[in-house]
Symmetry: C2
Protein backbone atom coordinates (compact mmCIF):
# COMPACT_ATOMS: atom_id res chain seq x y z
CA UNK A 1 0.00 0.00 0.00
CA UNK A 2 1.30 3.54 0.44
CA UNK A 3 3.51 3.55 -2.62
CA UNK A 4 1.64 0.51 -3.86
CA UNK A 5 2.90 -3.04 -3.83
CA UNK A 6 6.63 -3.24 -3.10
CA UNK A 7 9.65 -5.32 -4.12
CA UNK A 8 8.24 -8.78 -3.57
CA UNK A 9 5.41 -7.91 -5.96
CA UNK A 10 7.52 -8.95 -8.91
CA UNK A 11 7.14 -12.53 -7.70
CA UNK A 12 3.37 -12.36 -7.24
CA UNK A 13 2.95 -13.34 -10.88
CA UNK A 14 -0.59 -13.94 -12.11
CA UNK A 15 -2.30 -12.22 -9.18
CA UNK A 16 -0.25 -9.01 -9.21
CA UNK A 17 -2.98 -7.10 -11.04
CA UNK A 18 -5.69 -8.20 -8.61
CA UNK A 19 -3.75 -7.41 -5.43
CA UNK A 20 -4.54 -3.68 -5.41
CA UNK A 21 -8.21 -4.64 -4.99
CA UNK A 22 -7.35 -5.86 -1.49
CA UNK A 23 -5.62 -2.61 -0.54
CA UNK A 24 -8.52 -0.63 -2.03
CA UNK A 25 -11.01 -2.67 -0.04
CA UNK A 26 -9.20 -1.83 3.19
CA UNK A 27 -9.15 1.91 2.49
CA UNK A 28 -12.84 1.72 1.58
CA UNK A 29 -13.52 0.12 4.98
CA UNK A 30 -11.65 2.95 6.72
CA UNK A 31 -13.72 5.54 4.89
CA UNK A 32 -16.94 4.06 6.30
CA UNK A 33 -16.02 5.39 9.75
CA UNK A 34 -15.53 8.95 10.84
CA UNK A 35 -13.58 10.74 13.53
CA UNK A 36 -11.05 8.89 15.67
CA UNK A 37 -11.90 5.41 14.36
CA UNK A 38 -11.85 6.45 10.69
CA UNK A 39 -8.57 8.32 11.11
CA UNK A 40 -6.81 5.47 12.86
CA UNK A 41 -8.04 2.89 10.33
CA UNK A 42 -6.90 5.04 7.42
CA UNK A 43 -3.54 5.41 9.12
CA UNK A 44 -2.98 1.69 9.62
CA UNK A 45 -4.25 0.66 6.20
CA UNK A 46 -1.98 3.17 4.48
CA UNK A 47 1.09 2.11 6.39
CA UNK A 48 2.01 -0.47 3.81
CA UNK A 49 3.69 -3.82 3.82
CA UNK A 50 4.49 -6.45 1.26
CA UNK A 51 0.94 -7.83 1.08
CA UNK A 52 2.40 -11.31 1.20
CA UNK A 53 -0.66 -12.70 3.03
CA UNK A 54 -3.18 -11.35 0.49
CA UNK A 55 -0.90 -12.64 -2.28
CA UNK A 56 -0.94 -16.11 -0.71
CA UNK A 57 -4.74 -16.01 -0.62
CA UNK A 58 -5.04 -15.07 -4.29
CA UNK A 59 -2.33 -17.46 -5.49
CA UNK A 60 -3.81 -20.39 -3.53
CA UNK A 61 -7.23 -19.51 -4.92
CA UNK A 62 -5.76 -19.62 -8.42
CA UNK A 63 -5.11 -23.33 -7.92
CA UNK A 64 -8.89 -23.66 -7.61
CA UNK A 65 -11.81 -21.88 -9.25
CA UNK A 66 -10.42 -18.39 -8.44
CA UNK A 67 -13.65 -16.78 -7.19
CA UNK A 68 -12.00 -13.37 -7.14
CA UNK A 69 -14.59 -11.40 -5.14
CA UNK A 70 -14.61 -13.94 -2.32
CA UNK A 71 -10.82 -14.21 -2.39
CA UNK A 72 -10.45 -10.43 -2.11
CA UNK A 73 -12.80 -10.51 0.89
CA UNK A 74 -10.80 -13.31 2.55
CA UNK A 75 -7.51 -11.56 1.76
CA UNK A 76 -8.81 -8.31 3.24
CA UNK A 77 -10.04 -10.13 6.33
CA UNK A 78 -6.67 -11.79 6.91
CA UNK A 79 -4.67 -8.64 6.21
CA UNK A 80 -6.88 -6.96 8.83
CA UNK A 81 -5.98 -9.71 11.32
CA UNK A 82 -2.31 -9.14 10.54
CA UNK A 83 -2.77 -5.39 10.98
CA UNK A 84 -4.55 -5.91 14.33
CA UNK A 85 -1.63 -7.94 15.65
CA UNK A 86 0.88 -5.34 14.44
CA UNK A 87 -1.04 -2.58 16.21
CA UNK A 88 -1.14 -4.57 19.46
CA UNK A 89 2.49 -5.76 19.12
CA UNK A 90 3.71 -2.21 18.62
CA UNK A 91 1.80 -1.20 21.74
CA UNK A 92 3.34 -4.07 23.69
CA UNK A 93 6.84 -3.24 22.43
CA UNK A 94 6.38 0.50 22.83
CA UNK A 95 7.52 0.83 19.20
CA UNK A 96 7.36 4.38 17.81
CA UNK A 97 7.64 3.55 14.13
CA UNK A 98 7.08 0.60 11.81
CA UNK A 99 8.65 0.73 8.36
CA UNK A 100 9.35 4.40 9.00
CA UNK A 101 5.68 5.20 9.68
CA UNK A 102 4.68 6.27 13.20
CA UNK A 103 2.68 3.58 15.04
CA UNK A 104 -0.86 4.08 16.35
CA UNK A 105 0.51 4.13 19.90
CA UNK A 106 2.93 6.87 18.87
CA UNK A 107 0.47 9.06 16.93
CA UNK A 108 -2.38 8.56 19.40
CA UNK A 109 -1.50 6.42 22.41
CA UNK A 110 -1.51 2.89 23.81
CA UNK A 111 -5.14 3.11 24.87
CA UNK A 112 -6.33 4.01 21.39
CA UNK A 113 -4.07 1.29 19.97
CA UNK A 114 -5.64 -1.39 22.20
CA UNK A 115 -9.16 -0.39 21.13
CA UNK A 116 -8.28 -0.04 17.45
CA UNK A 117 -6.67 -3.49 17.54
CA UNK A 118 -9.83 -4.93 19.10
CA UNK A 119 -11.96 -3.25 16.46
CA UNK A 120 -9.72 -4.69 13.73
CA UNK A 121 -10.01 -8.22 15.16
CA UNK A 122 -13.79 -7.90 15.07
CA UNK A 123 -13.71 -6.32 11.61
CA UNK A 124 -11.73 -9.26 10.26
CA UNK A 125 -14.43 -11.62 11.55
CA UNK A 126 -17.17 -9.47 10.06
CA UNK A 127 -15.43 -9.53 6.67
CA UNK A 128 -14.97 -13.29 6.90
CA UNK A 129 -18.66 -13.69 7.74
CA UNK A 130 -19.49 -12.35 4.27
CA UNK A 131 -18.16 -15.65 2.90
CA UNK A 132 -21.03 -17.44 4.61
CA UNK A 133 -18.86 -20.28 5.85
CA UNK A 134 -18.75 -21.35 9.49
CA UNK A 135 -15.68 -23.41 8.62
CA UNK A 136 -13.77 -20.29 7.53
CA UNK A 137 -14.90 -18.39 10.63
CA UNK A 138 -13.89 -21.19 12.98
CA UNK A 139 -10.52 -21.38 11.25
CA UNK A 140 -10.15 -17.63 11.69
CA UNK A 141 -10.91 -17.76 15.41
CA UNK A 142 -8.48 -20.65 15.91
CA UNK A 143 -5.83 -18.77 13.95
CA UNK A 144 -6.14 -15.71 16.18
CA UNK A 145 -6.04 -17.97 19.26
CA UNK A 146 -2.83 -19.55 17.94
CA UNK A 147 -1.35 -16.14 17.18
CA UNK A 148 -2.05 -14.61 20.57
CA UNK A 149 -1.00 -17.69 22.49
CA UNK A 150 2.22 -17.77 20.41
CA UNK A 151 2.87 -14.15 21.37
CA UNK A 152 2.14 -14.96 25.02
CA UNK A 153 4.63 -17.81 24.81
CA UNK A 154 7.19 -15.39 23.36
CA UNK A 155 6.50 -12.97 26.17
CA UNK A 156 6.96 -15.68 28.79
CA UNK A 157 10.19 -16.77 27.10
CA UNK A 158 11.49 -13.18 27.09
CA UNK A 159 10.80 -12.75 30.77
CA UNK A 160 12.69 -15.93 31.62
CA UNK A 161 15.42 -15.49 28.92
CA UNK A 162 14.50 -19.05 27.90
CA UNK A 163 16.93 -20.58 25.40
CA UNK A 164 14.74 -23.38 24.15
CA UNK A 165 14.54 -24.48 20.55
CA UNK A 166 11.25 -26.40 20.88
CA UNK A 167 9.64 -23.40 22.53
CA UNK A 168 10.97 -21.14 19.74
CA UNK A 169 9.32 -23.28 17.08
CA UNK A 170 6.04 -23.38 18.98
CA UNK A 171 6.17 -19.59 19.26
CA UNK A 172 6.78 -18.93 15.58
CA UNK A 173 4.29 -21.61 14.54
CA UNK A 174 1.66 -19.67 16.50
CA UNK A 175 2.58 -16.11 15.85
CA UNK A 176 3.48 -16.34 12.13
CA UNK A 177 2.94 -19.72 10.48
CA UNK A 178 -0.68 -20.09 11.62
CA UNK A 179 -1.81 -17.04 9.64
CA UNK A 180 0.21 -18.04 6.55
CA UNK A 181 -1.44 -21.47 6.78
CA UNK A 182 -4.89 -19.96 7.11
CA UNK A 183 -4.35 -17.75 4.04
CA UNK A 184 -3.67 -20.80 1.89
CA UNK A 185 -6.16 -23.15 3.55
CA UNK A 186 -8.96 -20.59 3.55
CA UNK A 187 -8.41 -19.79 -0.12
CA UNK A 188 -8.40 -23.49 -0.97
CA UNK A 189 -11.71 -23.94 0.84
CA UNK A 190 -13.52 -21.08 -0.86
CA UNK A 191 -12.12 -21.91 -4.29
CA UNK A 192 -13.69 -25.36 -4.14
CA UNK A 193 -10.57 -27.50 -3.83
CA UNK A 194 -10.56 -31.09 -2.52
CA UNK A 195 -9.79 -31.91 1.12
CA UNK A 196 -6.43 -33.25 -0.02
CA UNK A 197 -5.60 -30.03 -1.80
CA UNK A 198 -6.82 -27.98 1.17
CA UNK A 199 -4.48 -29.92 3.48
CA UNK A 200 -1.60 -29.58 1.01
CA UNK A 201 -2.03 -25.82 0.78
CA UNK A 202 -2.25 -25.58 4.57
CA UNK A 203 1.05 -27.47 4.84
CA UNK A 204 2.57 -25.19 2.20
CA UNK A 205 1.49 -22.05 4.09
CA UNK A 206 2.59 -23.33 7.45
CA UNK A 207 6.08 -24.30 6.27
CA UNK A 208 6.46 -21.09 4.27
CA UNK A 209 5.51 -19.17 7.42
CA UNK A 210 8.18 -20.93 9.48
CA UNK A 211 10.79 -20.21 6.80
CA UNK A 212 9.63 -16.61 6.61
CA UNK A 213 9.86 -16.05 10.36
CA UNK A 214 13.28 -17.67 10.73
CA UNK A 215 14.51 -15.56 7.84
CA UNK A 216 13.01 -12.49 9.55
CA UNK A 217 14.83 -13.38 12.75
CA UNK A 218 18.11 -13.70 10.83
CA UNK A 219 17.53 -10.38 9.07
CA UNK A 220 17.12 -8.77 12.47
CA UNK A 221 20.80 -9.56 13.10
CA UNK A 222 22.10 -9.09 9.58
CA UNK A 223 20.57 -5.82 8.56
CA UNK A 224 21.75 -2.42 9.60
CA UNK A 225 19.69 0.38 11.05
CA UNK A 226 19.22 1.93 7.60
CA UNK A 227 17.52 -1.04 5.92
CA UNK A 228 15.69 -2.32 9.01
CA UNK A 229 14.62 0.97 10.56
CA UNK A 230 15.85 -0.47 13.87
CA UNK A 231 19.25 -1.44 15.25
CA UNK A 232 20.73 -4.86 14.44
CA UNK A 233 19.85 -7.32 17.19
CA UNK A 234 16.71 -5.39 18.08
CA UNK A 235 14.79 -8.59 18.97
CA UNK A 236 17.40 -9.47 21.56
CA UNK A 237 17.38 -5.90 22.86
CA UNK A 238 13.64 -6.42 23.38
CA UNK A 239 14.38 -9.66 25.22
CA UNK A 240 13.29 -12.00 22.42
CA UNK A 241 15.65 -14.93 21.95
CA UNK A 242 15.48 -16.30 18.41
CA UNK A 243 17.01 -19.22 16.54
CA UNK A 244 20.48 -17.69 15.89
CA UNK A 245 21.01 -17.07 19.63
CA UNK A 246 19.65 -20.52 20.49
CA UNK A 247 22.11 -22.11 18.03
CA UNK A 248 24.96 -19.99 19.39
CA UNK A 249 24.12 -20.92 22.99
CA UNK A 250 24.05 -24.64 22.13
CA UNK A 251 27.69 -24.42 21.00
CA UNK A 252 29.07 -22.56 23.98
CA UNK A 253 30.92 -24.58 26.61
CA UNK A 254 29.01 -24.99 29.88
CA UNK A 255 29.52 -22.02 32.18
CA UNK A 256 30.93 -19.73 29.48
CA UNK A 257 30.46 -16.07 30.24
CA UNK A 258 28.62 -15.47 26.95
CA UNK A 259 26.26 -18.32 27.85
CA UNK A 260 25.54 -16.66 31.16
CA UNK A 261 25.02 -13.31 29.43
CA UNK A 262 22.38 -14.92 27.20
CA UNK A 263 20.65 -16.75 30.06
CA UNK A 264 20.54 -13.60 32.15
CA UNK A 265 19.68 -11.14 29.39
CA UNK A 266 22.89 -9.13 29.88
CA UNK A 267 25.57 -7.71 27.56
CA UNK A 268 23.28 -7.78 24.56
CA UNK A 269 25.87 -6.00 22.40
CA UNK A 270 28.44 -8.74 22.98
CA UNK A 271 25.88 -11.43 22.15
CA UNK A 272 24.86 -9.63 18.96
CA UNK A 273 28.51 -9.35 17.91
CA UNK A 274 29.08 -13.05 18.64
CA UNK A 275 26.03 -13.97 16.53
CA UNK A 276 27.18 -11.79 13.65
CA UNK A 277 30.71 -13.14 13.89
CA UNK A 278 29.75 -16.83 13.79
CA UNK A 279 28.04 -18.97 11.16
CA UNK A 280 24.77 -19.37 13.13
CA UNK A 281 23.04 -16.94 10.78
CA UNK A 282 23.94 -19.14 7.80
CA UNK A 283 22.89 -22.25 9.69
CA UNK A 284 19.58 -20.58 10.57
CA UNK A 285 18.99 -19.73 6.92
CA UNK A 286 19.68 -23.37 6.06
CA UNK A 287 17.02 -24.36 8.56
CA UNK A 288 14.66 -21.87 6.94
CA UNK A 289 15.58 -23.46 3.63
CA UNK A 290 14.50 -26.83 5.03
CA UNK A 291 11.03 -25.51 5.76
CA UNK A 292 10.93 -23.77 2.38
CA UNK A 293 11.66 -27.06 0.71
CA UNK A 294 8.90 -28.81 2.70
CA UNK A 295 6.58 -26.05 1.50
CA UNK A 296 7.57 -26.84 -2.09
CA UNK A 297 7.01 -30.56 -1.55
CA UNK A 298 3.52 -29.86 -0.28
CA UNK A 299 2.67 -28.50 -3.75
CA UNK A 300 3.75 -31.71 -5.51
CA UNK A 301 0.21 -32.90 -6.18
CA UNK A 302 -0.84 -29.78 -8.10
CA UNK A 303 -0.54 -29.64 -11.88
CA UNK A 304 1.76 -27.08 -13.48
CA UNK A 305 0.47 -23.53 -13.59
CA UNK A 306 1.75 -20.00 -13.33
CA UNK A 307 0.23 -19.74 -9.83
CA UNK A 308 2.04 -22.86 -8.65
CA UNK A 309 5.32 -21.59 -10.11
CA UNK A 310 4.81 -18.34 -8.25
CA UNK A 311 4.14 -20.16 -4.97
CA UNK A 312 7.32 -22.18 -5.55
CA UNK A 313 9.27 -19.01 -6.33
CA UNK A 314 8.06 -17.51 -3.04
CA UNK A 315 9.64 -20.38 -1.10
CA UNK A 316 12.98 -19.49 -2.69
CA UNK A 317 12.59 -15.75 -2.31
CA UNK A 318 11.78 -16.08 1.37
CA UNK A 319 15.25 -17.29 2.34
CA UNK A 320 16.94 -14.68 0.14
CA UNK A 321 15.26 -11.68 1.73
CA UNK A 322 17.29 -8.60 2.33
CA UNK A 323 14.47 -6.47 3.83
Amino acid sequence: MGGGVSKLASVYGPVTDDLPRVADRLLELASEHDRLLGETLEHVFQSGGKLIRPALVLLSGRLGSYPIDELVTLAASLEVVHTATLVHDDTIDGALTRRGVPTVSAVWDGKVAILVGDFLLALSAQLASLLDSVRIMRLLSETVMAMSSGELRQYAASSSHAVDEADYFQRIAGKTASLFAMCCEGAAIISGQSEEEIAALRAYGSNLGLAFQISDDVLDFRGDEKTLGKPAGNDLLQGTITLPVILLASRLPAGSSLGRDIAEGRNVKAVVEAVRGSDVLDVSIERAGGYASRAREALRGFGDSEAKETLVALTEQVTERRA
Copy 2:
Protein backbone atom coordinates in the same frame (compact mmCIF):
# COMPACT_ATOMS: atom_id res chain seq x y z
CA MET B 1 -18.46 -16.97 39.92
CA GLY B 2 -15.89 -17.35 42.69
CA GLY B 3 -18.43 -17.66 45.48
CA GLY B 4 -21.02 -18.66 42.90
CA VAL B 5 -23.82 -16.52 41.60
CA SER B 6 -24.33 -13.34 43.65
CA LYS B 7 -27.17 -11.10 44.79
CA LEU B 8 -28.95 -10.57 41.50
CA ALA B 9 -29.26 -14.34 41.17
CA SER B 10 -32.45 -14.31 43.21
CA VAL B 11 -34.11 -12.64 40.24
CA TYR B 12 -32.79 -15.11 37.65
CA GLY B 13 -35.78 -17.33 38.36
CA PRO B 14 -36.20 -20.41 36.18
CA VAL B 15 -32.63 -20.40 34.84
CA THR B 16 -30.85 -20.04 38.19
CA ASP B 17 -30.05 -23.75 38.34
CA ASP B 18 -28.60 -23.82 34.82
CA LEU B 19 -26.39 -20.74 35.24
CA PRO B 20 -23.51 -22.55 37.00
CA ARG B 21 -23.08 -24.58 33.80
CA VAL B 22 -21.84 -21.42 32.11
CA ALA B 23 -19.30 -20.69 34.85
CA ASP B 24 -18.18 -24.33 34.78
CA ARG B 25 -17.75 -24.21 31.03
CA LEU B 26 -15.44 -21.22 31.36
CA LEU B 27 -13.24 -22.86 33.98
CA GLU B 28 -13.13 -25.99 31.82
CA LEU B 29 -11.85 -23.85 28.93
CA ALA B 30 -9.12 -22.41 31.15
CA SER B 31 -8.00 -25.88 32.18
CA GLU B 32 -7.37 -26.80 28.52
CA HIS B 33 -4.36 -24.48 28.46
CA ASP B 34 -1.21 -24.66 30.51
CA ARG B 35 1.39 -22.20 31.74
CA LEU B 36 0.90 -18.46 31.36
CA LEU B 37 -2.25 -18.72 29.22
CA GLY B 38 -3.95 -21.26 31.47
CA GLU B 39 -3.10 -19.31 34.60
CA THR B 40 -4.40 -16.01 33.26
CA LEU B 41 -7.61 -17.59 31.95
CA GLU B 42 -8.28 -19.28 35.27
CA HIS B 43 -7.68 -15.96 37.00
CA VAL B 44 -10.12 -14.00 34.86
CA PHE B 45 -12.82 -16.67 34.85
CA GLN B 46 -12.71 -16.93 38.64
CA SER B 47 -12.91 -13.21 39.18
CA GLY B 48 -16.66 -13.27 39.30
CA GLY B 49 -19.45 -10.94 38.40
CA LYS B 50 -23.20 -11.07 38.38
CA LEU B 51 -23.47 -13.26 35.27
CA ILE B 52 -26.22 -10.97 34.03
CA ARG B 53 -25.29 -11.57 30.39
CA PRO B 54 -25.40 -15.38 30.65
CA ALA B 55 -28.70 -15.02 32.55
CA LEU B 56 -30.12 -12.92 29.70
CA VAL B 57 -29.11 -15.61 27.21
CA LEU B 58 -30.78 -18.40 29.18
CA LEU B 59 -33.91 -16.39 29.99
CA SER B 60 -34.36 -15.27 26.38
CA GLY B 61 -33.87 -18.84 25.25
CA ARG B 62 -36.61 -19.90 27.67
CA LEU B 63 -39.05 -17.89 25.60
CA GLY B 64 -38.23 -20.31 22.77
CA SER B 65 -37.35 -24.00 22.65
CA TYR B 66 -34.64 -23.66 25.35
CA PRO B 67 -31.91 -25.74 23.67
CA ILE B 68 -29.83 -25.69 26.85
CA ASP B 69 -26.49 -26.96 25.49
CA GLU B 70 -26.45 -24.40 22.70
CA LEU B 71 -27.57 -21.66 25.07
CA VAL B 72 -24.76 -22.48 27.51
CA THR B 73 -22.29 -22.28 24.61
CA LEU B 74 -23.66 -18.91 23.50
CA ALA B 75 -23.71 -17.62 27.09
CA ALA B 76 -20.10 -18.74 27.61
CA SER B 77 -19.06 -17.10 24.33
CA LEU B 78 -20.67 -13.78 25.29
CA GLU B 79 -19.35 -13.84 28.86
CA VAL B 80 -15.91 -14.38 27.31
CA VAL B 81 -16.43 -11.28 25.13
CA HIS B 82 -17.40 -9.34 28.23
CA THR B 83 -14.32 -10.65 30.06
CA ALA B 84 -12.08 -9.68 27.13
CA THR B 85 -13.32 -6.10 27.23
CA LEU B 86 -12.85 -5.94 31.01
CA VAL B 87 -9.27 -7.14 30.67
CA HIS B 88 -8.52 -4.54 27.99
CA ASP B 89 -10.43 -1.77 29.79
CA ASP B 90 -8.52 -2.40 33.00
CA THR B 91 -5.30 -2.17 31.02
CA ILE B 92 -6.42 1.09 29.43
CA ASP B 93 -7.47 2.54 32.79
CA GLY B 94 -4.45 1.20 34.64
CA ALA B 95 -6.88 -0.35 37.15
CA LEU B 96 -5.22 -2.50 39.81
CA THR B 97 -8.33 -4.29 41.08
CA ARG B 98 -11.83 -5.12 39.88
CA ARG B 99 -14.39 -6.18 42.49
CA GLY B 100 -11.52 -6.50 44.93
CA VAL B 101 -9.63 -8.98 42.71
CA PRO B 102 -6.29 -7.87 41.20
CA THR B 103 -6.53 -7.27 37.43
CA VAL B 104 -4.46 -9.15 34.84
CA SER B 105 -2.41 -6.01 34.25
CA ALA B 106 -1.72 -5.84 37.99
CA VAL B 107 -0.85 -9.54 38.53
CA TRP B 108 1.09 -9.89 35.28
CA ASP B 109 1.35 -6.68 33.26
CA GLY B 110 -0.24 -4.64 30.48
CA LYS B 111 1.48 -6.65 27.76
CA VAL B 112 0.09 -9.94 29.02
CA ALA B 113 -3.31 -8.29 29.44
CA ILE B 114 -3.38 -7.13 25.80
CA LEU B 115 -2.55 -10.63 24.54
CA VAL B 116 -4.94 -12.40 26.93
CA GLY B 117 -7.72 -10.03 25.83
CA ASP B 118 -6.97 -10.84 22.18
CA PHE B 119 -7.02 -14.55 22.95
CA LEU B 120 -10.37 -14.15 24.71
CA LEU B 121 -11.87 -12.29 21.74
CA ALA B 122 -10.84 -15.16 19.48
CA LEU B 123 -12.00 -17.76 21.99
CA SER B 124 -15.46 -16.18 22.07
CA ALA B 125 -15.65 -16.52 18.28
CA GLN B 126 -14.48 -20.12 18.42
CA LEU B 127 -17.17 -20.95 20.99
CA ALA B 128 -19.79 -19.21 18.87
CA SER B 129 -18.66 -21.19 15.84
CA LEU B 130 -19.81 -24.36 17.60
CA LEU B 131 -23.37 -23.14 17.05
CA ASP B 132 -22.84 -23.54 13.32
CA SER B 133 -24.56 -20.28 12.48
CA VAL B 134 -22.95 -17.60 10.33
CA ARG B 135 -25.72 -15.26 11.45
CA ILE B 136 -24.65 -15.60 15.10
CA MET B 137 -21.00 -15.14 14.20
CA ARG B 138 -21.67 -12.04 12.12
CA LEU B 139 -23.73 -10.64 14.98
CA LEU B 140 -20.86 -11.35 17.35
CA SER B 141 -18.32 -9.57 15.16
CA GLU B 142 -20.61 -6.57 14.78
CA THR B 143 -21.18 -6.50 18.52
CA VAL B 144 -17.46 -6.38 19.25
CA MET B 145 -17.07 -3.66 16.59
CA ALA B 146 -19.82 -1.65 18.31
CA MET B 147 -18.23 -2.20 21.72
CA SER B 148 -14.73 -1.14 20.74
CA SER B 149 -15.92 1.83 18.71
CA GLY B 150 -18.10 2.87 21.68
CA GLU B 151 -15.04 2.71 23.92
CA LEU B 152 -13.03 4.71 21.37
CA ARG B 153 -15.78 7.31 21.34
CA GLN B 154 -15.62 7.44 25.14
CA TYR B 155 -11.87 7.85 24.98
CA ALA B 156 -12.18 10.70 22.48
CA ALA B 157 -14.84 12.33 24.66
CA SER B 158 -12.60 12.05 27.74
CA SER B 159 -9.69 13.68 25.97
CA SER B 160 -11.83 16.62 24.89
CA HIS B 161 -13.94 16.78 28.10
CA ALA B 162 -16.93 16.70 25.76
CA VAL B 163 -20.25 17.40 27.48
CA ASP B 164 -22.54 16.01 24.85
CA GLU B 165 -25.66 14.00 25.59
CA ALA B 166 -26.05 12.52 22.11
CA ASP B 167 -22.45 11.38 22.18
CA TYR B 168 -22.99 9.85 25.65
CA PHE B 169 -25.88 7.75 24.38
CA GLN B 170 -23.93 6.61 21.34
CA ARG B 171 -21.09 5.60 23.64
CA ILE B 172 -23.19 3.55 26.05
CA ALA B 173 -25.20 2.04 23.21
CA GLY B 174 -21.91 0.72 21.82
CA LYS B 175 -20.00 -0.22 24.91
CA THR B 176 -22.84 -1.80 26.94
CA ALA B 177 -26.21 -2.06 25.22
CA SER B 178 -24.87 -3.80 22.11
CA LEU B 179 -23.74 -6.86 24.10
CA PHE B 180 -26.96 -7.00 26.15
CA ALA B 181 -28.88 -6.87 22.86
CA MET B 182 -26.77 -9.64 21.36
CA CYS B 183 -27.35 -11.89 24.41
CA CYS B 184 -31.11 -11.70 23.89
CA GLU B 185 -31.10 -11.65 20.09
CA GLY B 186 -28.63 -14.52 19.81
CA ALA B 187 -30.60 -16.66 22.24
CA ALA B 188 -33.81 -15.92 20.33
CA ILE B 189 -32.17 -17.02 17.08
CA ILE B 190 -30.84 -20.32 18.39
CA SER B 191 -34.00 -21.16 20.28
CA GLY B 192 -36.00 -21.01 17.05
CA GLN B 193 -38.06 -17.88 17.67
CA SER B 194 -39.75 -15.87 14.90
CA GLU B 195 -38.12 -12.81 13.33
CA GLU B 196 -40.62 -10.66 15.20
CA GLU B 197 -39.67 -12.24 18.52
CA ILE B 198 -35.97 -11.97 17.69
CA ALA B 199 -36.37 -8.23 17.05
CA ALA B 200 -38.44 -7.81 20.22
CA LEU B 201 -35.80 -9.53 22.35
CA ARG B 202 -33.08 -7.43 20.72
CA ALA B 203 -35.03 -4.27 21.62
CA TYR B 204 -35.50 -5.58 25.16
CA GLY B 205 -31.76 -6.23 25.58
CA SER B 206 -30.70 -2.95 24.06
CA ASN B 207 -33.01 -0.87 26.27
CA LEU B 208 -32.13 -2.89 29.35
CA GLY B 209 -28.45 -2.29 28.56
CA LEU B 210 -28.96 1.48 28.34
CA ALA B 211 -30.85 1.46 31.67
CA PHE B 212 -28.13 -0.70 33.21
CA GLN B 213 -25.31 1.59 32.08
CA ILE B 214 -27.03 4.81 33.19
CA SER B 215 -27.71 3.20 36.54
CA ASP B 216 -24.04 2.16 36.71
CA ASP B 217 -22.99 5.72 35.98
CA VAL B 218 -25.26 6.98 38.77
CA LEU B 219 -23.90 4.38 41.21
CA ASP B 220 -20.42 5.65 40.45
CA PHE B 221 -21.44 8.94 42.13
CA ARG B 222 -23.73 7.53 44.81
CA GLY B 223 -21.72 4.71 46.23
CA ASP B 224 -18.89 5.04 48.65
CA GLU B 225 -15.45 3.50 48.40
CA LYS B 226 -16.52 0.52 50.53
CA THR B 227 -19.36 -0.73 48.29
CA LEU B 228 -17.79 0.31 44.98
CA GLY B 229 -14.18 -0.60 45.65
CA LYS B 230 -13.29 2.80 44.14
CA PRO B 231 -13.87 6.41 45.19
CA ALA B 232 -17.18 8.10 44.41
CA GLY B 233 -16.92 10.01 41.13
CA ASN B 234 -14.22 7.65 39.86
CA ASP B 235 -15.43 7.90 36.25
CA LEU B 236 -14.97 11.65 36.31
CA LEU B 237 -11.56 11.25 37.93
CA GLN B 238 -10.71 9.06 34.92
CA GLY B 239 -11.98 11.81 32.62
CA THR B 240 -15.24 10.09 31.66
CA ILE B 241 -18.19 12.48 31.61
CA THR B 242 -21.47 10.63 32.16
CA LEU B 243 -25.15 11.56 32.19
CA PRO B 244 -25.31 13.14 35.69
CA VAL B 245 -22.53 15.59 34.80
CA ILE B 246 -24.09 16.31 31.42
CA LEU B 247 -27.42 17.10 33.12
CA LEU B 248 -25.68 19.26 35.71
CA ALA B 249 -23.76 21.18 33.04
CA SER B 250 -26.96 21.84 31.07
CA ARG B 251 -28.40 23.68 34.07
CA LEU B 252 -25.45 25.88 34.85
CA PRO B 253 -25.60 29.50 33.69
CA ALA B 254 -23.30 30.27 30.76
CA GLY B 255 -19.78 31.05 31.93
CA SER B 256 -20.23 29.64 35.45
CA SER B 257 -17.01 28.56 37.08
CA LEU B 258 -18.32 25.01 37.65
CA GLY B 259 -19.23 24.84 33.96
CA ARG B 260 -15.68 25.80 33.09
CA ASP B 261 -14.31 23.23 35.53
CA ILE B 262 -16.31 20.52 33.77
CA ALA B 263 -15.32 21.65 30.28
CA GLU B 264 -11.66 21.81 31.25
CA GLY B 265 -11.53 18.68 33.40
CA ARG B 266 -10.50 20.59 36.54
CA ASN B 267 -11.67 20.61 40.17
CA VAL B 268 -13.16 17.15 39.90
CA LYS B 269 -13.93 17.09 43.63
CA ALA B 270 -16.10 20.20 43.40
CA VAL B 271 -17.95 18.75 40.39
CA VAL B 272 -18.55 15.46 42.21
CA GLU B 273 -19.91 17.35 45.25
CA ALA B 274 -22.20 19.42 43.03
CA VAL B 275 -23.53 16.26 41.36
CA ARG B 276 -24.16 14.58 44.71
CA GLY B 277 -25.79 17.72 46.11
CA SER B 278 -28.25 18.19 43.25
CA ASP B 279 -31.11 16.06 41.90
CA VAL B 280 -29.33 15.06 38.68
CA LEU B 281 -28.76 11.58 40.03
CA ASP B 282 -32.50 11.10 40.54
CA VAL B 283 -33.22 12.58 37.14
CA SER B 284 -30.67 10.19 35.61
CA ILE B 285 -32.35 7.25 37.31
CA GLU B 286 -35.67 8.43 35.88
CA ARG B 287 -34.08 8.39 32.44
CA ALA B 288 -32.84 4.87 33.13
CA GLY B 289 -36.39 4.03 34.17
CA GLY B 290 -37.61 5.26 30.79
CA TYR B 291 -35.36 2.76 29.00
CA ALA B 292 -36.34 0.04 31.47
CA SER B 293 -39.96 0.64 30.64
CA ARG B 294 -39.22 0.47 26.90
CA ALA B 295 -37.51 -2.85 27.59
CA ARG B 296 -40.69 -4.09 29.30
CA GLU B 297 -42.84 -2.90 26.39
CA ALA B 298 -40.69 -4.87 23.98
CA LEU B 299 -41.83 -8.05 25.75
CA ARG B 300 -45.54 -7.28 25.24
CA GLY B 301 -46.01 -9.82 22.47
CA PHE B 302 -44.78 -12.80 24.52
CA GLY B 303 -47.27 -14.96 26.43
CA ASP B 304 -47.03 -15.15 30.21
CA SER B 305 -44.27 -17.34 31.60
CA GLU B 306 -41.88 -17.44 34.50
CA ALA B 307 -39.01 -16.47 32.17
CA LYS B 308 -40.90 -13.42 30.92
CA GLU B 309 -41.73 -12.38 34.49
CA THR B 310 -38.05 -12.69 35.36
CA LEU B 311 -37.02 -10.55 32.39
CA VAL B 312 -39.59 -7.96 33.49
CA ALA B 313 -38.30 -8.09 37.07
CA LEU B 314 -34.78 -7.44 35.78
CA THR B 315 -35.91 -4.17 34.21
CA GLU B 316 -37.11 -3.06 37.64
CA GLN B 317 -34.09 -4.34 39.51
CA VAL B 318 -31.72 -2.55 37.21
CA THR B 319 -32.76 0.93 38.32
CA GLU B 320 -32.75 -0.07 41.99
CA ARG B 321 -29.18 -1.31 42.05
CA ARG B 322 -27.02 -0.51 45.03
CA ALA B 323 -23.88 -2.34 43.85
